[in-house]
């Protein structure tokens, strides 16, 4: 499982409230990713990080922010949750050496978020 944990695993919240999801890894990987999974869309990249304090946007970043103050933790924040952000959120890390085309992403167990 590449030493990835996500918390919480399930959360129900109300529209307009802030929500923070945590991804924790134990193997010192440089790259970390946040995805959301919705029926009919596969997984879509929200944000990713390539080091402490280094982050960039993915394809569906609107309404989300991230922070990475230490290597092992990558936080995803919904500043004001909306019903369209109801989804399953997956964290991933990239293994392999820099520049290695065979580098692979490994995924955490997911967080199911419901926004009422």
């Amino acid at each position: 499982d590449a030493g990835i944990t996500q918390s919480p695993r399930h959360k129900v919240t109300e529209t307009g409230t802030p929500v923070t999801l945590r991804c924790h890894q134990t193997e010192n990987h440089r790259y970390m990713y946040w995805y959301r999974q919705d029926p009919g869309h596969g997984l879509r990249l929200i944000h990713y990080s390539y080091g402490v304090k280094d982050t960039d946007k993915g394809e569906v970043s609107d309404g989300y922010s991230v922070s990475r103050s230490k290597t092992e933790d990558f936080l995803l924040t919904l500043e004001s949750a909306t019903s369209s952000q109801t989804s399953v959120y997956f964290c991933a890390i990239k293994s392999g050496l820099a520049g290695d085309s065979s580098d692979t992403q490994y995924f955490g167990p997911g967080t199911r978020l419901t926004v009422l």
């Binding site: 009919g40 596969g42 879509r44 990249l45 990713y48 993915g58 692979t104 992403q105 995924f107 167990p109």
Partner: protein
């Protein structure tokens, strides 16, 4: 831009019969391609990956995939389905543009295995 198309949203097979899950890709470069599996209420598990070495790639649990450049395909196969193979399968291409090893996922194929 790189993309993948999974040609079937649902596939149903009988236990013991072959499995074929189809994936076509679009890429301007020699792509890196992956198949991931997701069992119900679980995370994603890597089945296999192609990275321009052997065109026939063997993965876990008896699955394999063949990279065919002329057909721009990367279909996933297994000779004999087992009940435990019932899951959703994602074909994925690694995007070349920019940094960060970004992946583009197909929309998934739900595999049902019947007795």
């Amino acid at each position: 831009a790189q993309s993948v198309t999974q040609l079937d949203s649902h596939v149903s097979v009988s236990e013991g019969t072959p499995v074929l899950l189809r994936c076509n890709y679009s890429s301007s470069y020699s792509p890196s391609l992956f198949w991931y599996v997701q069992h119900p209420n679980k995370g994603l598990q890597l089945l296999l990956k192609y990275t321009s070495a052997a065109t026939l790639v063997k993965g876990i649990n008896g699955f394999e995939a063949e990279f065919k450049k002329s057909e721009t395909s990367f279909h996933l196969t297994k000779p004999s389905a087992h009940m435990s193979d019932a899951a959703e399968y994602f074909c994925v291409v690694r995007r070349v543009t920019g940094g960060g090893n970004k992946l583009t996922f197909g929309t998934g194929t739900q595999l049902k295995v019947e007795l």
